[in-house]
């Protein structure tokens, strides 16, 4: 096998062999992480006296979130629930903060013992993990602006822009509707913010979230009855049946004792629907039989995932090209201001470059998209993404151009001026073309870097390639093959760029002084 591989590597071109090696490494990692010796988790929890709980506090109120008065403290109805469970088990709780998108994956990897964070029980997820009996009955709630009376039921959402959270049943419902423009968010505050700003027409989220954020806000109102009832369950690893049994007994116990109701009432999330939790036996069948539209499996057939990835790739390409164009034009302007401008222009240019290079792109994006509305400027996500990336990279481009321009000998300017050309003409016809040639390699570098950095714009609701991948992967629980395909797509887009840049450089090389 090894011999064969080496032979293959020798035969193929360097790139191909590099790819094969990379895949090889992936496969090895895959096996290593999957061959951990199995140990019963319930036994481990009891003997160590610690139950490790995975959740995402970014998911927010009222589930698990940071107390604004004591920011280091976590509060929420799930915090209280887990505390009750731990008490019954006679153990302590250890927190494990994990991105919600990958919470089940981390559970499978063994990062923590239970995932309890508004994880809806769906048949997709039941393929991957084991759920306890439900501990909460949720429903999806539409929220609209108080002034807007167009939307009063789910049907009214057709052809509207609707905000929701990543990887939720609400998102699935909206996707199934077909003609809804869905804006997906990873935090819970942002969709409501965009609703107030009219960037979306409605928000569809789990009822507890809706009640927590919309009820106290006079600008917003809940529209119509909750829809798409479903259940939250505690997820454990498939093999941890003993732990699941134990948890089922505990849930049953605190439900019957009324403690669960008390907890939910304390957080304002108790409603009549929760009574259904008592009809345990009937539920078991019901919650595994999701409405047919929702239980559709995300299969790994090319026809299902490739169009989604391709759409993401198109967004990535569009954003990258447009923001690079902005970066080039703005960067050149900044460089010229710095080199030829008066004292003030020079200062502005320097300050710009220092500021943009010295602050994280992520924060710049947040400020552009969520911060600017505070001073009355509301940008669309697409525009904010292009401005954010373009303005950030302009700072780097300006330094590249400045270095390129300065590398051109003074004699070139003097010869050009002595031929009667103006300073402007000299810059345009003599200096910049030569500086451009010097700038090609670093510019290519930057463009490829920007291309990859474009995945950051997913924080302002843009669904580009990386986000498409993580959504598909989380839904199908397949991070491996999809990951490789996505990586290949990125590579397939950036590699031609490198080749083109190399060709262009070669083409312009004929006039090099030291040929």
């Amino acid at each position: 096998m090894y011999k064969k591989l080496m032979l293959m590597i020798r035969k193929k071109s360097i790139i191909q062999s590099y790819l094969i090696l990379q895949i090889f490494c992936f496969v090895i990692c895959f096996f290593i992480t999957n061959t951990f010796a199995y140990q019963d988790t319930l036994e481990k929890v009891k003997s160590s006296g610690v139950l490790t709980w995975g959740f995402d506090a970014e998911g927010g109120a009222p589930y698990v979130f940071h107390d604004t008065k004591h920011p280091s403290k976590l509060i929420g109805f799930e915090v209280d629930l887990v505390a009750a469970i731990a008490r019954e088990l006679g153990v302590k709780v250890q927190h494990f903060q994990n991105e919600w998108d990958s919470i089940l994956l981390s559970l499978q990897r063994g990062d923590f013992d239970i995932a309890l964070n508004g994880v809806e029980i769906t048949s997709d997820r039941e393929q991957a993990v084991l759920f306890t009996r439900p501990y909460f009955v949720y429903a999806e709630q539409i929220v609209v602006r108080a002034s807007d009376n167009r939307i009063n039921c789910l049907e009214d959402l057709h052809s509207k822009r609707v905000g929701t959270l990543y990887n939720t049943v609400a998102k699935q419902i909206l996707d199934e509707m077909g003609d809804v423009t869905v804006n997906t968010y990873s935090g819970q505050i942002e969709p409501f913010k965009d609703l107030s700003l009219s960037r979306v027409d409605a928000v569809l989220v789990d009822l507890p979230i809706a009640s927590y954020y919309a009820v106290p806000n006079p600008q917003l109102r809940m529209a119509g009855e909750p829809v798409g009832e479903g259940y939250y369950g505690i997820a454990v690893r498939k093999e941890d049946t003993a732990l699941a049994d134990e948890l089922n007994i505990i849930i049953e116990k605190i439900l019957r004792s009324g403690e669960l109701k008390k907890i939910y009432e304390r957080w304002g999330v108790w409603n009549v629907s929760q009574e259904k939790l008592f009809f345990h036996e009937g539920l078991l069948q019901k919650y595994t039989e999701m409405p047919p539209s929702l239980s559709k499996k995300v299969s790994l057939r090319v026809t299902t995932f490739l169009p989604t990835l391709m759409k993401g790739a198109l967004v990535t390409i569009g954003i990258s090209i447009l923001s690079m164009m902005l970066a080039v034009v703005l960067g050149l302007t900044l460089a010229i201001m710095r080199l030829y401008g008066n004292k003030w222009l020079r200062r502005v240019s320097t300050a710009y470059t220092e500021f943009y290079r010295g602050t994280p792109l992520l924060i710049q994006l947040y400020i552009l998209y969520y911060g600017l509305p505070n001073i009355g400027i509301t940008l669309s996500a697409f525009i904010a993404a292009i401005l954010g990336l373009g303005m950030n990279y302009a700072a780097y481009e300006s330094e590249i151009y400045r270095a390129g321009i300065q590398a051109i000998p003074k004699g070139q300017t003097e010869a050009s001026l002595s031929l009667g050309m103006s300073r402007r003409l000299t810059l345009r016809r003599i200096i910049l073309p030569q500086a451009f040639r010097i700038a090609i390699p670093p510019m290519t570098n930057d463009f490829i870097a920007l291309f990859k950095d474009s995945s950051l714009v997913s924080v302002i609701t843009m669904v580009e390639l990386t986000k498409s991948y993580s959504m598909l992967a989380a839904a199908s629980m397949n991070f491996f093959q999809l990951g490789i395909i996505t990586a290949l797509l990125y590579f397939g887009m950036s590699y031609p760029l490198s080749i083109y840049a190399r060709r262009l450089e070669k083409k312009l090389k004929y006039y090099d002084r030291n040929q």
Binding site: G420, P433, Y511
Partner: protein
């Protein structure tokens, strides 16, 4: 044609010219000689507007450009004034300074087309005839990097001539050339001056200076130490320092 009167020039605190006067008439061939650092390049660059100066006046074909400290100095007119002067005076540099990203032909046509607004076809025809004049017509489509130093300098001369200047300034045109290439460049310049082009040339080629010039000027530390006809200057210089300087070149 070119008249320099009472020129004061200093770099920072370091004075170079202290009231220099020089008059070049139409058709004159003036050779500037002098040791390194004596101010030959600076003088040519002042004439061509590549350097500013503190006091005095340089007049080219009636266009007067004043030192920055003079009453008559006018900052707003400076740019267009310099531009006018540059159109009348061509300049050739020691380092050739051809544009490496353009072919020989485009090096020559660039300025006539962009600055004078001459049509491309006409500019190219002129360029080709100028290339014939410097014996390089077959290199029209080459890039500067593909030419020898001597060839590059001849292209630079053709490029300056394409602007149809009334006078030419040469700043040590052969100083960065290998010995075997010096001759070809000097021949081109000789041709040019024989047609009556007003010329100022800074050079260390004393034989050439003696053969072609009408006036020789010996410059030292920014001062004109001695001036006269080539015959007088080369055979019988009056000043001791001129004698010492020339004796080093005349074996």
């Amino acid at each position: 044609m070119i008249e320099i009167s009472n020129l004061f020039k200093q770099y920072g605190e370091q004075p170079l010219f202290n009231g220099l006067n020089l008059e070049v008439e139409k058709g004159n061939i003036v050779v500037l000689i002098g040791p390194s650092g004596s101010g030959k390049s600076t003088l040519l660059r002042c004439i061509n507007g590549l350097e500013c100066f503190q006091k005095g006046c340089i007049s080219v074909d009636g266009q007067k450009r004043y030192g920055v400290n003079e009453q008559s100095y006018n900052k707003t007119d400076e740019d267009s004034m310099v531009k006018d002067i540059r159109r009348k005076v061509g300049m050739v540099f020691q380092q050739f300074n051809l544009f490496p990203h353009m072919t020989v032909l485009n090096n020559i046509t660039e300025s006539p087309v962009r600055v004078l607004g001459i049509g491309r076809a006409e500019a190219e025809a002129t360029a080709i005839s100028l290339l014939q004049k410097v014996h390089l017509e077959e290199k029209a489509q080459n890039y500067p990097a593909q030419l020898s130093g001597g060839e590059q300098q001849r292209v630079a001369i053709a490029r300056a001539l394409a602007m149809k200047p009334e006078a030419m300034l040469f700043d040590e045109p052969t100083s960065s050339l290998d010995p075997e290439m010096i001759e070809e460049v000097l021949l081109v310049i000789k041709d040019l001056v024989s047609e009556g082009m007003t010329t100022i040339i800074a050079t260390h080629e004393m034989g050439f200076a003696r053969d072609v010039s009408t006036h020789v000027i010996f410059l030292e530390k920014g001062n004109i130490v001695e001036r006269g006809s080539p015959k007088k200057m080369f055979s019988n210089p009056k000043n001791k320092r001129t004698k010492i300087f020339l004796s080093r070149f005349m074996k």
